[in-house]
Structures are given as structure tokens and as C-alpha cells.
């Protein structure tokens, strides 16, 4: 038993894993994950300004579920912000709302939600019915008091965009593609390269006229192909088993997948340059995978997490890929709408590649 502890102490990475993983898990599950996301970014398309509009905005904000990020945008802008995921909700106040309200016509307010992740919008949408009653209570006094009966003074027309039926699979299945790619690609490259080093075959390879870069490309290329095979399998399953819609361009999705695969491969290579054996490579994969799956918005709504967790999430490639693939498949986004999620991926890749190259050179020398 003493021997086990001595060996554990020597294997610093395993030791770190044993102490670190529970701490990370506690931090993530305890603090970061929250199934009831609040302060969701909301934009207001106000075709009419006035007391009621201001009261509504205030009421939304007071509910804690909504955070108004822009209170006067055009319909087109609101659309775009929903598509890009900058806004979770868009509230449209139609022209003539105040008059219709005062006449007791119970006018409708349009609340559009980005419902790609039903879990993120559900609680907020549940709260608005109550809100309709209380929002204008303060304004409807005196002569207008008769407008405040038991029934609310206006109606909500709620539009769950992109996923009207709130089907969880629409969100999970495309996301799963990202998770699977992360897992296999990082592990495969990590293990593949460490295996060469561990078995001593890498030295032999380098003694041949093949350049280190060629060795890398030769090691990576097969996994890109494997990655694409996985993507196709999942897409077919999404289409024929889960009936997930495919609103956007297939080629565009393939492009996003390529960027994502490349980002993951750089992680794999960099890890392999740090790992001394295959076990360590495996552990590192797990170390990277855990936050990826928990903080990316795959399992839990991204906006439900505290700021620090969101910052970490923003660094992870999976986070951006989830937005990309949901954007293409569910929202039918085009390249301009996707770009805000593509460049962070490229930046991540570049940064990791720099570290990897630096480390890799040292491994060879």
C-alpha cells in the first residue's frame, strides 16, 4: 500500500487528476451549472414608445429572467441578433399598442425566443404569463383601473423560433456531433503520437528524410477523414432517426466541421507533446473533455452559468462549434452570421498550435 502511494506521488499527473477532477467537478456542478438560466439577453423592437413600453421593459428586467440589452432595434436587427445568438429573446411592441390597450382590446405582444435550446428559454417563458398581470399594474390606475381585471390587459404571442415544439433532440443531436468529435479526435491524435514516441518508432521516423511537419500531417490526415465519417454518421442519424431539421447549407456545415476538427487536432498534438506516455495522454484528454462537455452549453444552458464559467466556456472550441452547428442546422445561418463563432475557433487553434510547435520542437531535440 505504501508503494502505491509512493508511485502515485511520483506520477504527478495522476495525482493532480485525482485531486483536481473532484475539485473541478465540484466547482462545475456546484457553482457553474444552473438549469434555471436568468438574465437572458433580450432586445426590444419598439414601434411605439411610451409609458407602457417603459413599464414593460422594467417589468421584464425586474423578473430577473430578462436582461434588456437593446431597447430600440429594428425588426431586421432583432432577427439578426437572434440568429447570431446575441439575443435570446426579442420583444416586439406593435404600433398602436397603447391605444388598443386603453380601449380594452387586449392587444398582443410578440415575444420571439431563440428556442434552439428549450432548456434555456423554458423557465423564462414560463414566467411571462404572470408578468402580463403585474407589468402594467402600476400604470393602470384611476380611470383605467377597470382594465386591470383578473385577466391580463394584453396577450402574449410567444414564438419559439427554430424549434417551435421545444424538442430537446434538435438541440442535443447536433451538439453530440461536437462532443464526439472532441472526444475521438483529441484522444486519437494524442494517443497516436505518444504511442510513436513511447515505442521509439518516432525516433526512427525522424531519422528518415521525412520532415517533422510531414510526420505530423501524415499522422493527422487519417483522423480528419475519420472525423468526417463520424460527422456523416451522426448527420444521417439526425436526419432519419431523430428527424432533426437541416435548415442551412451542407457545405457551410462541412466548413465549420473542418475548422473544428483542426482546432481539436491541435489540442491533441499539443497534449501529445506534453504527455510522456499514453496513459497521460488519456488523462489529459479527460481533463480537457470534462469542462468541454459541461461548460460549452451542451448539457446545460450556457447562459445559466456564472460569468467566470462563461469565460472559460468561450475559450473552449466546443462552445463555438455548438453555436455553429445549431446555427446552420436549426437556424439556417449563413457565413456572415457564423463568422462571430468561427474566428474564436481560429484564434484558439492558432494559440494552441504555437504552444504545441514550441513544445514539439523541444521533444524532438
Amino acid at each position: 500500500m505504501l508503494k502505491e502511494f509512493i508511485q502515485l506521488r511520483r506520477d504527478r499527473l495522476t495525482f493532480a487528476m485525482m485531486i483536481g477532477i473532484p475539485i473541478i467537478q465540484m466547482a462545475l456542478f456546484g457553482f457553474a451549472i444552473n438549469g434555471d438560466p436568468k438574465y437572458l439577453p433580450t432586445v426590444i423592437v419598439a414601434h411605439e414608445q411610451g409609458t407602457y413600453t417603459r413599464s414593460l421593459v422594467r417589468a421584464l428586467e425586474n423578473s430577473d429572467y430578462f436582461r434588456v440589452v437593446a431597447s430600440d432595434v429594428t425588426d431586421a436587427q432583432a432577427d439578426r441578433m437572434l440568429a447570431q445568438g446575441q439575443a435570446q429573446f426579442a420583444l416586439t411592441i406593435p404600433a398602436g399598442f397603447a391605444r388598443a390597450l386603453e380601449r380594452g382590446e387586449r392587444p398582443a405582444l410578440l415575444l420571439e425566443a431563440d428556442a434552439t435550446d428549450p432548456g434555456a428559454t423554458g423557465p423564462a417563458l414560463g414566467s411571462v404569463q404572470q408578468l402580463a398581470i403585474s407589468a402594467l399594474a402600476h400604470d393602470l390606475k384611476g380611470t383605467l383601473a377597470h382594465l386591470q381585471p383578473d385577466a391580463p390587459a394584453f396577450e402574449w404571442r410567444i414564438q419559439k423560433r427554430y424549434n417551435p415544439d421545444g424538442i430537446t433532440q434538435y438541440n442535443i443531436v447536433p451538439g453530440l456531433m461536437g462532443v464526439i468529435l472532441t472526444m475521438t479526435l483529441i484522444m486519437m491524435t494524442g494517443l497516436g503520437i505518444t504511442r510513436e514516441v513511447e515505442r521509439g518508432t518516432m525516433e526512427n521516423l525522424l531519422a528518415t528524410p521525412v520532415r517533422p511537419l510531414e510526420v505530423m500531417v501524415g499522422k493527422i490526415a487519417p483522423y480528419i477523414i475519420i472525423g468526417y465519417v463520424q460527422v456523416l454518421v451522426i448527420l444521417l442519424a439526425a436526419r432519419y432517426v431523430f428527424d432533426v431539421p437541416f435548415a442551412g447549407s451542407f457545405m457551410l456545415l462541412m466548413l465549420c466541421v473542418l475548422v473544428f476538427i483542426a482546432a481539436n487536432l491541435t489540442v491533441g498534438i499539443t497534449m501529445s507533446s506534453m504527455a510522456r506516455n499514453q496513459t497521460q495522454a488519456m488523462q489529459m484528454t479527460f481533463f480537457f473533455f470534462l469542462p468541454s462537455i459541461l461548460l460549452s452549453g451542451f448539457m446545460f444552458p450556457f447562459r445559466g452559468m456564472p460569468d467566470w464559467a462563461q469565460w472559460i466556456g468561450e475559450v473552449l472550441p466546443l462552445t463555438h462549434f455548438l453555436r455553429l452547428i445549431r446555427g446552420v442546422m436549426l437556424k439556417g445561418n449563413g457565413l456572415p452570421d457564423l463568422w462571430p463563432e468561427i474566428w474564436p475557433l481560429l484564434l484558439f487553434m492558432l494559440a494552441v498550435m504555437l504552444v504545441g510547435l514550441k513544445r514539439f520542437r523541444r521533444t524532438l531535440d
Binding site: G200, T201, E203, L206, A207, T208, D365
Partner: protein, 326 residues
Amino acid sequence: MIAAAMTRTEPVATSEAAADDGIVIDVQGLTKRYGNKTVVDQLSMRVNRGEIYGFLGPNGSGKTTSIRMMCGLLTPDAGSGHTLGFDVVREAAQIKRRVGYMTQKFGLYDDLSIRENLDFVARMYSMDRRRQRVDDALERLGLASRQTQLAGKLSGGWKQRMALAACMLHEPELLLLDEPTAGVDPSARRDFWDEIHQLAAEGITVLVSTHYMDEAERCHRLGYIAYGKLLAMGTPGELVERSGFVTRNFSGADVGALSHELEALPAVTMVTRFGNTLHVNGQDEAALDAALAPYRARDDLHWETGKPSLEDVFIHLMRQATDNFS
């Protein structure tokens, strides 16, 4: 053979100049540090064309690092040199094409078959007539009938032979063998060395590192390295002679106790025990004989004049090095 190598890459002027004087490896002041540890310190040496150069030294003395620097795998921190006339720093790519480097650890793939392994190596060198070359190599090895067997299933001796075949595929002018016979049984070792001598006879230069003294004695010339420094260089005979060792062999029933007693004598440099025989080495013949006189007179001991062995010389060198450097 040289012609074959030339057709693949156009010859460089420096190559011809250096190749003509028959020196294959010529390095000066090679130094490599890892952190603040100097692994190879100011190593200078020459290897002539067609000779088998034995590289000896204790574990961790810098043999592998030196070999790697000579074939351009590692960049030296200081020093310069040419291998086959190419600069070890700037022209590593040309060196790699013309050198066969056999790593200490079996560097081929256990999960590929023998043929697949050789074919892979041939591809890495982008060789012409790949099929033909692989066939020839298999034939030469006597593995043609087992070519689909996985390399991992081969015995140690066969693995070594296969690794040698793999680094001979591109017909190198220089072979660098890093402890090729570690863990190989004696008869396979003998076969391996016969092959090396055969290759040397064909004009291929061989630099081989080893721990085995019988192998060292089969080399044309030797270099002894310890603590990253080249301590001695020469033919096996020269090295023995230069050590100035005089040896007296004592044999008897109970030489074990005697060994420590003799070693304590000032005139005795080193005592080595071989079964019931003690090899007693000294550097001053007269003093040694004087000191040993009482033992030679003993009835229970038989003594004779011995021949100093390479092993004794090297162990002595290493002890001296320990005193000097650590």
C-alpha cells in the same frame, strides 16, 4: 552504391571534397546540454571510410546523444562537424538520406507485418523500385516465407536483423548502430556481427555503440566516452598497450578473500575476478612483481603472466574519469 545515392539528390561540392579523403565522420567540439547538465562535452573524432568504429562507454555517457548529433537528428549547442561531407547542422536532410540509423529501441511497428514495415520505411525514403528492394531485403534476411508475420512476434535476434535490413534499404554509405545487440542471444549476436563485417567489407562505414567487450574487440577502432568526454581512441591493441597495464593471473581455490587483499596493495591498480582466477593489473611491472612476491610463493596459488583485457582498461578509464569529473 554511392552512384545510387547521388541520383536521388544532386551532389553538393563539399560532399565530394570531403568524401575523397576517406573521412566519413569528422566532428570537432560537439557539445550538447540539457538544462545545466552537459551530456556531450567537446567531442571531437574522426571515422574513416570502410572501418568499423566501436563507441564504448557506460550508460548515460552520451553515446546516443553523440550519434544523434552526427546524423543531424539533434542540433549541437556548440561545435561543428561533417558527416559524409555534409554539415551536421545545416545539411541534416542530406545526411539522413545517406545514413542508416538503427535506434537503441526497436524502432519498427510491432503491429505491422515484416513486409509492411519494410515497405513503410521504403516509402519514407521515397525510394524507387520499392517492391524490388523490399523483396531483396526479405530474401537476404531469409524472411521471405514469413513476410506476413507481425514484427512484434519476432524474437529479439530477428528483430535486430530486420531493423538492420530496414536501415539498409536505402543503401546508405554509413551505418550508425546504437547498441544493436542489447538483449540478443550470443549466437544471434555473432551472426549480426558477421553481417556487419560483411557490410564493412563492401565499403560501408559502421559506427556501432556497445557494452560488450567481445564486440569491442571485433571493431577496427574504438572510442571510449564517459561523462560526455571522449577519453581514449585507437585500435583495441593500441588502447591496451597505452594503458601500460601489466597483468598477473592468480588461480586457486579461495581467491575471493584474496581479491580485496591484493587490491589494497599500492602497486596494484585493479583486480578482476573470473571464477577461480584473479586478474591482477598494475602499471609498473617491477613494483607489481615486488608487491606480489609473497603471493607468488604461496603453494595454494598458481600464477602466470596474463594479458591485460580491454575490459580492464575501460573500467580503469572509467574510474579515472569518475575521479576527474564527479
